[in-house]
């Protein structure tokens, strides 16, 4: 009777698998993605530098044409999103602030309520939530409208008329989004703080309004205001530059516009998270 070969153990299977060379297609995939990532970083970086250069050197050029465009962008990205931001602020206040204060009071640590709220709301959640809302509502629209403009040759028409497309199309969006995210963040923080106290009040937590707001005021330092402004302007610039880049940098076919929008959204999120990480370093050094 022939002897049945012994079954290999799981440890030897693992060793065999590790000894195998990586599939070439997988390496090719990683290589392609890395190369594409580097190309995107280079493209967005160059576009950002051009945009900043145009913004600083041509801010007052043809201002009777471009400044109304900036105001229109602030209205679209800021004023029209105000109801949504107020709703988000109320929700954040009830869910996060109210519960946090209630919990801290229960464990006798209510003296930390101000610090917790400043850290969570002013430094982190407020700017990021406002930026993500603007990106979802306005950033995606920017990719689509600029992508369609490019696909229909309107950008070349601007150049033929001697109008710089970066000055006319990109600069108002960058300034508009930066201003809108800053303003919306301020409204979001104020709404969250007030609605948070309402939740605290409804739960019969023994915390007077004066003590509540006093804690927050004491936890805030002047650097918080400066960094809040810088952070929101950075988020607005990142979102506007990345979305305009994807709409304008290359001539899109109509069917490519949706893919460009998806790519822009994911790159905006990554860009904002990286910027947030840099600001966390600054906060830690404070």
């Amino acid at each position: 009777m022939e002897k049945e070969p012994a079954k290999p153990s799981s440890a030897s299977l693992l060793q065999d698998a590790l000894a195998l060379p990586l599939p070439q297609s997988y390496l090719n995939f990683v290589g392609r993605q890395s190369f594409r990532l580097l190309q995107t970083i280079q493209g967005v970086g160059a576009f950002a530098l051009i945009t900043l250069g145009v913004t600083f050197t041509k801010f007052n050029t043809a201002w009777r044409v471009t400044h109304p465009l900036i105001r229109a962008e602030i209205e679209r990205a800021g004023v029209r999103l105000l109801p949504g931001v107020l709703f988000l602020g109320i929700a954040l206040g009830l869910v996060i602030v109210g519960q946090t204060v209630s919990l801290l009071t229960k464990i006798g640590a209510e003296q930390y309520a101000g610090s917790v709220m400043v850290t969570v709301l002013v430094r982190e959640l407020g700017p990021l939530a406002a930026a993500l809302l603007v990106m979802a509502r306005v950033g995606t629209a920017i990719v689509i409208e600029l992508g369609l403009s490019r696909a229909q040759g309107e950008v070349e028409a601007l150049e033929a008329l001697g109008i710089d497309p970066v000055h006319y199309l990109v600069m108002p969006r960058v300034i508009g989004l930066a201003a809108a995210i800053f303003s919306l963040t301020v409204y979001l923080i104020i709404t969250a703080v007030v609605s948070g106290y309402l939740f605290v009040f409804l739960q019969d937590v023994p915390l007077l309004p004066a003590a509540y707001f006093n804690q927050i005021a004491q936890a805030l330092v002047w650097q918080d205001f400066l960094l809040l402004g810088l952070k929101t302007v950075t988020y607005g610039t990142i979102i506007a530059v990345v979305t305009c880049y994807h709409g304008l940098a290359q001539r899109l076919r109509l069917e490519e516009v949706s893919d460009a929008t998806t790519a822009a959204v994911s790159q905006c999120v990554v860009g904002c998270v990286f910027a947030d990480a840099l600001f966390i370093l600054v906060y830690l050094l404070m």
Binding site: R64, S149, E154, A157, A160, L161, G162, I163, D164, Y168
Partner: protein
């Protein structure tokens, strides 16, 4: 040789041994070795079948696209050495009417489309351009449609609006990319009459003759209107000369553009 000479006979636009690349793929050369100069007051009709590179040639002539090889001059200066501000000034001296509806800004009205270049370059509110815009709209027969969104117009009216937008800056050179494509005979006559009047010296341009270059895939309407003719075929530029020379020309490709 410097081409910066500003004597009356100095060419307005010039290509020297220029290779014309495709706008969609700059590594693809469509036309090789174009040497051509545009003098003041000339009226060119440049024929070529579809995909012969007419639009890319026109974009290169207008300075919107760099030639893949050779030299290009706008009003005697190479765009490569011009400062951005000078290039903007040169662009205002060249009107360009794109084909297929003129690439208007669809979200704006006809009036806003026409007023935009004036407002931008003169840094003025739209109210200050009302008179000039109204004159150009009347010239192009668009007064009734002034407040219509550009995207709502049909192609022939959009093409007229693009002409109005190009004329509002009172250019010295007008480049037209296949302006008669898809128009009915009445519209064709209107275009040829107006272009002839502009070339002869229209009051809108203070009587100064407008230099014209039109590309076309049908040379028949132009043979009694344009003054100089050329062909783009098989990747090369072929200058045909004036009306008499064209009539006597034996270029085989000419037949494709002159017969049905």
């Amino acid at each position: 040789m410097s081409t910066a000479d500003s004597s009356p006979a100095a060419p307005l636009l010039e290509l020297v041994e220029a290779d014309i690349a495709s706008a969609g793929n700059l590594e693809l050369t469509l036309i090789r070795g174009v040497s051509w100069r545009l003098l003041p007051g000339e009226y060119w009709a440049v024929g070529g079948l579809q995909w012969s590179g007419k639009s890319d040639w026109l974009a290169t002539v207008a300075g919107l696209q760099r030639p893949a090889a050779g030299k290009q001059f706008l009003f005697g200066e190479s765009p490569e050495v011009l400062r951005q501000s000078d290039l903007v000034v040169d662009r205002q001296r060249i009107g360009l009417v794109f084909e297929n509806g003129g690439r208007l800004f669809g979200q704006m009205s006809v009036r806003q489309n026409v007023a935009l270049p004036l407002c931008y370059h003169q840094n003025c509110p739209p109210e200050d351009t009302r008179e000039a815009v109204a004159t150009v709209l009347a010239l192009t027969g668009l007064t009734e449609l002034a407040d219509e969104p550009a995207s709502q117009l049909n192609r022939s009216w959009r093409q007229r609006a693009a002409l109005a937008r190009a004329l509002v800056l009172r250019p010295e050179v007008l480049l037209l990319d296949n302006p008669l494509a898809g128009l009915d005979p009445r519209q064709v006559r209107w275009w040829l009459d107006l272009l002839g009047a502009l070339n002869a010296g229209h009051p809108w341009l203070a009587g100064k003759p407008l230099t014209l270059v039109a590309t076309t895939d049908d040379l028949r309407p132009w043979r009694t209107r344009a003054h100089q003719f050329a062909l783009l075929q098989s990747g090369r530029w072929c200058s045909l000369g004036g009306r008499a020379e064209m009539a006597a020309h034996t270029e085989p490709a000419l037949e494709d553009l002159m017969t049905l």
